[in-house]
């Protein structure tokens, strides 16, 4: 696995885990669901807010 795919695969795994977790139950499953789907959103926001200006 090269550097290009490291983050996308991590986010894909996190999203899949988040999507699946919530359907299995409530309580801790819901937290796992929110964390799993929250990671891609948080990464996107961090990259958008911290976007690099002109060199």
């Amino acid at each position: 696995m090269n550097g290009t795919w490291r983050w996308p695969l991590l986010l894909a795994l996190s999203s899949a885990l988040g999507l699946a977790a919530g359907i299995f139950g409530d309580g801790p499953w819901d937290w796992l669901c929110w964390a799993g789907l929250g990671l891609p959103v948080a990464v996107a926001i961090a990259k958008l807010v911290g976007g690099r200006g002109p060199a």
Binding site: L37, V43, A44, R52
Partner: protein, 379 residues
């Protein structure tokens, strides 16, 4: 990847994306509203009124509720019973219609509080979110519109898949999530497109495919009716019942056959989901996932005896599980908010993709015009 292959994937990505852009933007915006339909209905005062004055009544039996619905619709016959929860209140819906009509679409439903039998109005589609829902599901075009939306979902799947294939070669020399604000507008748009697209990848594929599956639901249910359900009906006696076993007895037989599950539906004999002689009873589990795993118990309507038991085929289970994965309604308000943010990111990826194409096309047009002008000058 060879440059010819890359160009092929690029063509697939460009044309599939362009084909679904307008519809995708519409689905994203309408979907964004629908995520919060409960909250919007509440704000607009378009929620069903709570039942009043019946709190002290004893809990009615299922048969009493069905009889009450028939009293309100003289000349009708019962078609189906639905048990569900509305904002934590156990509810019963009784579908009634003209005698001899198998289709459940023709007829009307009466909803009652299962605890006291009080009638209760439900979401009818005449609200703002009901209007948006029709737009989202079928563009106000009925079944053809629904199939079209399903096809848009499949094209979107191809667009996402080709986008993932292109992501590697395009990002090979760039850091993940790099957004070069302040550079040329096309570079910024491309960076935003790559970031938003890859971040929502799995979520968008799941929501897109489940949306397609839901859009094709009439075809999928039709397949089940024509294959497994028809086969089951063929194996059972077809003589119509001379008398009807009470619903509560039917429920007891179903509960004994599949213990630990809740009653979800009862379809009356002669309707499209039952035989001419039998009640078709559908049971489901309690957890979010088990609620979508159905068991079918067939009960002889005359004798009240168990006739057969079946589980749903895989494609019906996939269809039933598609609902929560498309609507994002299984994890409370935090999941709704995340669903909305992911929808916004998908809207961002769609919009930036369209801008990149529009600007690239203008540049190409300018180059062609410049080339033509140069040739004219030379001649």
């Amino acid at each position: 990847m060879k440059s010819k292959t890359l160009r092929g994937w690029y063509a697939v990505h460009r044309w599939t994306s362009l084909a679904c852009t307008a519809n995708l933007l519409l689905l994203c915006l309408s979907g964004l509203i629908l995520i919060f339909h409960h909250e919007i209905d509440h704000l607009l005062g378009q929620e069903p009124p709570p039942a009043r004055g019946a709190a002290d009544l004893p809990r009615p039996s299922l048969q009493q509720l069905a009889d009450a619905a028939l009293l309100a619709h003289p000349g009708s016959v019962p078609k189906s019973i639905t048990l569900f929860e509305d904002d934590g209140v156990p509810m019963v819906g009784v579908r009634v219609g003209a005698p001899g009509v198998a289709s459940l679409r023709e007829g009307s439903s009466i909803f009652m509080d299962a605890g006291n039998g009080a009638p209760r109005a439900l979401f009818t589609g005449d609200t703002f979110t009901g209007f948006i829902l029709k737009l989202h599901v079928n563009l106000f075009l009925g079944f053809p519109g629904q199939l079209f939306i399903g096809a848009v979902g499949l094209v979107f799947f191809l667009s996402m898949l080709s986008g993932i294939v292109l992501y590697g070669p395009f990002m090979r020399k760039l850091a993940f999530g790099l957004v070069r604000f302040g550079r040329q507008s096309r570079i910024v748009q491309a960076d935003l497109h790559n970031l938003t697209g890859i971040v929502v990848m799995v979520w968008a594929l799941v929501v897109g495919m489940t949306g397609s599956f839901l859009s094709f639901s009439p075809l999928i249910i039709g397949l089940w009716q024509k294959t497994e359900l028809s086969e089951l009906i063929r194996t059972l006696p077809a003589a119509p019942p001379t008398s009807m076993a009470p619903l509560d007895e039917v429920r007891r037989v179903a509960d004994q056959t599949v213990p630990g599950k809740d009653l979800a539906y009862i379809f009356y004999p002669g309707t499209e989901y039952a035989t001419q002689r039998h009640y078709m009873v559908v049971l489901r589990g309690h957890s979010e996932i088990a609620k979508r795993v159905f068991n079918i118990v067939v009960v002889d309507a005359e004798t009240g005896q168990l006739a057969a038991q079946r589980s749903m085929p895989w494609y019906m289970q996939v269809l039933l599980l598609s609902g929560p994965f498309h609507f994002g309604d299984y994890g409370g308000l935090p999941l709704k908010i995340l669903w909305a943010l992911l929808t916004l990111l998908t809207t961002g990826a769609t919009t930036t993709g369209l801008i990149i194409w529009a600007r690239r096309s203008k540049t190409a047009t300018r180059q062609i015009d410049a080339g033509n002008a140069h040739l004219k000058e030379q001649s």
